[in-house]
Amino acid sequence: MIRKQRSIINKLYPLAFIALIVAVWELVCRLRLVAEFMLPSPEKVVKALVTEFPTLIMHSRTTLLEAAAGLGISLAAALVFAVLMDKFEFLYKAGYPIAVLTQTVPTVAIAPLLVLWFGYGMAPKIVLIFVACFFPMLIALLGGFQAADPGVLRLYRSMNAGYLRILKDVKLPYALDSFFSGLRISVSYSVVGAVISEWLGGSGGLGVYMTRVRKAFAFDKMFAVIIVTSVVSLILIKLVDIIQIAAMPWKKYEKK
């Protein structure tokens, strides 16, 4: 009971802090300390959110579709590459430094190049999301494979188990923790990546909507779309948490 109360209190802290920020923001706007066209009040943002909700939902669908496609392809590719790099040491030695290096490339900078190469359709968007999500997933999976208990690996080898059996029985399950950590990062990257890629053109998506309202100086709508983007990311991260709990039922018995 006490633990439950403590958990509720812990969740109230961030909510109270957000409420405080919104209150200060509203006060700043009402006292006209900042020009209205520069910073719309929370009240106006909420109104924009309500009136634009159907439009935002429609654009969210496009963004989510792109994010899902990009994320799905990166997950599949990361799994294939992680297995190959785990199995063949020369591939690991050759590929790992490149994987780390590509993490330093800003996605915003390569987005125009992708449009140049792949046009204004869905392809450059999926490629950009792939670039953003592939490497966190690859590194998470490789780290996960290395987390496999060496004693268990030795036991399997002593029983003449082949690589594929060891991968299925030992390495993949041991990598789940790390995989879900990577996935949490990647789902948020996928949404942000989709929005960034949509800035460069297209007919739908939260990024396209964001560009339109920015050009119209409708900053209340701009804030509304930012909130929707964050909420979509948060929902996806929560979804990953739920999937992880369902996929790893033994975790609740392990001592923290």
């Binding site: 002593s158 029983m159 003449n160 789940l176």
Partner: protein, 245 residues
Amino acid sequence: MSVLTAENLSKSYGDRKIISDISVHIEKGEMVSLLGVSGGGKTTLFNLLSGLEAPNGGRVILNGEDVTGKSGLVGYMQQSDLLLPFKTIAENVIIPLLLRGEKKKAALEKARPLFAEFGLEGLEGYYPAQLSGGMRQRAALMRSFFYSSELLLMDEPFSALDAITRGSMQSWFRNIVREHGLSTFFITHDVNEALLLSDRIYILGGVPGKITHELKNSIPQVENPELTEEFLRNKIKITELINNE
């Protein structure tokens, strides 16, 4: 007839010779222990016997066949239980059967009657994290049993357990091994454990490690064998032999 015979085994890592010219044998249904100080080469010897590593010299004979450097032929239970945390107890114990190509359903059917005997009845669906250390060791032993119901190599199987659990596990282990006619060869550095569980004791000593003594042991058939005069006499003798190495 010997189930396992090792002849003149030697192993070096680079210039460092770990064990030299070791010969041991395990008879059918015999419980044999290997005593020695830490770092003396006991685990190296077991790695050679189980085929996990190849010796630099000598050979390993299993049921009359030369199996030197061939893994996967004997059950090898290591220091920790090595149960997979994400598999249930039932799924853990049937791993050797699945590796042999059996279907999961058939393997579970085969395992079912043995859960009670191994003290794991009703715990089949539990995860290892839900069980005590003793229960986990029982599951690990059951898994090893499915791997080889003939010969088990065990590297300090009870060292991670508390004294009370270890005591009850030792007597349970002795009974189950006898019941199934298993041959066991186990590493320990607990003289009491060696005297309670072995028909024969090898003492490994020196650098590089060699078998310095081989002793026959009869376990007193009384309720608390460790309190008998014979047991204490043997304990003093073995302790002196180890200390003199």
